[in-house]
Amino acid sequence: MTDFAELTTSPIDIGSVARRVIPPDCGATVTLDGYARGFTKSKDGSVRETQYLVYEAYEPMAIKEMQKLIDAAKDKFEISNVGIVHRTGRLEIGETSVVISVAAPHRKAAFEACEWLIKELKRTAPIWKKEVFAGGEEWVEGESLPSE
């Protein structure tokens, strides 16, 4: 019944994240489930097959940044509860990397807040993704900077 921002090295169960944010006065939860893609586009436009991913976090700061996002979302949108769980360590293709669940009395606010939260999380949470492919690996560098 409270908000939460967590990192975990274990597989994430989407349903249990969604369940934890549900207060009895709400009608809807919107959940974003991001996961490891099997194919990624390189900077030169070619598509390559990813074997697995590794996520690394600056853990205490990542938790703080996620908590800040939750506070900001609750100011900005009419929502009741937010839960964010981001996985770290090695992820196989298809495994969930991040789940964001937003409960709200009206679903429109839940959709808007969830979309805003994932956009901001990708911009500000100090977490990095390494793609491991046949013959190499590469830390992905984000496109936008937190101050932008």
Binding site: E56, Y58, M61, K64, H86, I127, W128, P146
Partner: protein, 79 residues
């Protein structure tokens, strides 16, 4: 003054370290520390760098204080 410097992902690979205590003169900022570290690890300069002091984003020219924790990393890519 002593600064605890942390590296993650690409910057950890570039420096071959995850954490390093560095002694610098008062008045140093993140850019100063990058100069010090890059003299041993020039690969660090290949990246656009971001900085956090005591787990808050700061710009490269923010003056550091003794005992600060300075994280040096690339644009984030979580999610």
């Amino acid at each position: 003054m002593k600064i605890q410097v942390l590296f993650f992902g690409a910057t950890a690979d570039a420096t071959g370290e995850r954490a390093k205590r560095i002694d610098v003169l008062a008045g140093a900022n993140a850019a100063t520390l990058v100069d010090v570290i890059a003299s041993d690890h020039p690969a660090l300069r290949r990246h656009k760098l971001l900085f956090a002091v005591n787990q808050q984003y700061v710009s490269a020219n923010t003056t550091l204080n003794d005992g600060d924790e300075l994280a040096i990393f690339t644009a984030v890519s979580g999610g």
